[in-house]
């Protein structure tokens, strides 16, 4: 990893350890400076995800924070990606902040907050259109997919 990315991740980790994470967001593992996993749940009574917990994995490349990390919801025996019109069943997420609107002033916790509010504002549990086709042909790294962002407010 480059000096910049290591330094930045160390700082983010120290901030999380000293100040904690926002409610509903827990750092599950940060075993290395390359891959972190957060647990995300949506707060309140109104949400359609009440009682559900999702695992969000971030892989930081050596150009972080200039480049966006690779972010997916885990899809394994223990965790399933949320049913959401922007989240594919393989865990890939279509969100502009994870693509061409990533900015180096954002950080891991900011991504978690964005994902949490994306879930909080959703009213309908459904997969994106064309989910099966996408999942069948998707590259393992969602950053290789050319996303087309129609509406981030859904």
């Amino acid at each position: 990893m480059s000096g910049l990315s290591t330094k930045r991740l160390m700082k983010e980790l120290a901030d999380i350890q000293s100040k904690g994470t926002p409610e509903g967001i827990i750092l599950l593992s940060a075993d290395s400076m390359e891959e972190w996993v957060f647990l995300i749940s949506v707060l309140g009574e109104e949400t359609i995800y009440k009682g559900e917990t999702f695992a969000l994995r971030m892989k930081f490349g050596n150009r972080y924070p200039i480049d966006v990390p690779e972010v997916t919801f885990l899809a394994n025996e223990q965790y399933q990606p949320p049913l959401h019109p922007h989240v594919y069943s393989n865990g890939h997420i279509c969100a502009s902040i994870l693509g061409n609107e990533w900015s180096p002033v954002l950080n891991a916790v900011a991504i978690c907050i964005t994902m949490q509010s994306m879930l909080a504002s959703n009213k309908k549990k459904e997969r994106p259109e064309g989910n099966d086709r996408y999942v069948r042909t998707a590259p393992s790294n969602p950053k290789l997919t050319r996303w087309h962002y129609d509406d981030d407010t859904v």
Binding site: G3, R63, I66, C94, P104, V105, R133, T137, L144
Partner: protein
């Protein structure tokens, strides 16, 4: 929402010997590695990514050669530049950060060629310091922006300390070819630009449009989607904000097909931003070709 899934197919085939991929290959069987390989040759973006971030100057005549079969208006403008002494072009990589990289190079070269580089470096340092309160006002984390900004401040301080990296044009170009340093400076300039627009919202908001839909954007949306992310081109609002924030003049020669008519005193359209843009004020001078910025200068040094 939708995805272009055919541009990003799956990893189904076995690892091992590279196989022949032709029009009969089922796209859904391509592996990630094969896709990357295929895109290497095809993708213009990848081609750009192999070019230096910024390079030592080429003669303007090299640019002219690219247009020899092109529009006569453009050739006329190039000839006017040449006749008026604008004889070298410092190319920036066309990755969407070219304005900020060109700005940085021109900013540092301007200090280098000042009669008193140390004084000019101190003035630049002070201008940058004056732009910081706006960043704090906008809620940017101080520790965070200082880390990006440090890459630029180190180079500016180097003038005062007689450092090697800033003692020649070549040294400056070499320093700016370091990707991590150059990218940090791009981010720092983007944050300075963003915080200037955010703190002068009344001035800018009527002009903040989405470059894709041409619909008005709020100041916050514009800064978040068009200024702060790397790879987003600078347009008039960003250029003006950065020039004002750092209190520097910027003149941009527009190398486009527009006809200036016979009455114009120069055959090229210079668009000016910021303070004193007259020649004695030594503004930064950039060359704009639709979608791209480079630096254009008059060669003031004897050939080495």
């Amino acid at each position: 929402m939708s995805t272009q899934t055919d541009a990003a197919p799956a990893q189904a085939s076995a690892e091992g010997q590279p196989r022949v991929i032709d029009e009969n290959t089922d796209l859904s069987t391509l592996t990630d590695q094969e896709i990357m390989k295929l895109m290497e040759g095809m993708d213009h973006q990848d081609d750009q990514m192999n070019k230096p971030l910024i390079s030592t100057p080429v003669p303007l005549s090299v640019i002219r050669q690219e247009y020899e079969k092109g529009s006569t208006q453009i050739l006329k403008k190039l000839d006017w530049l040449a006749e008026n002494g604008w004889d070298q072009v410092w190319r920036a990589r066309g990755d969407g950060d070219c304005y900020y990289r060109s700005f940085t190079l021109a900013y540092l070269v301007r200090i280098l060629h000042s009669t008193d580089s140390q004084l000019e470096a101190n003035l630049a340092y002070e201008s940058i310091q004056r732009a910081l309160p706006a960043m704090e006002q906008c809620g940017f984390d101080k520790e965070l922006y200082e880390e990006f900004l440090d890459s630029l401040l180190v180079l500016i301080r180097s003038f005062a300390e007689g450092g090697e990296s800033t003692s020649t044009e070549y040294g400056i170009v070499q320093s700016l070819q370091d990707a991590e340093r150059s990218n940090c400076i791009v981010v720092a300039l983007r944050l300075i630009t963003s915080s200037y627009i955010r703190t002068h919202s009344d001035l800018f908001s009527p002009f903040l449009l989405s470059p894709t839909t041409f619909l008005p954007l709020s100041t916050d949306d514009f800064c978040r989607s068009e200024v702060e992310p790397c790879g987003k081109e600078a347009d008039h609002a960003q250029i003006m904000a950065l020039a004002e924030a750092l209190n520097i003049g910027v003149r941009i020669a527009y190398l486009d097909r527009s006809d200036l008519g016979s009455e114009a005193d120069s055959a090229i359209n210079w668009v000016e931003f910021g303070k004193d843009t007259s020649e004695p004020g030594r503004p930064l001078t950039l060359l704009y070709r639709p979608g791209h910025y480079d630096v254009v200068t008059k060669d003031v040094l004897p050939q080495v």
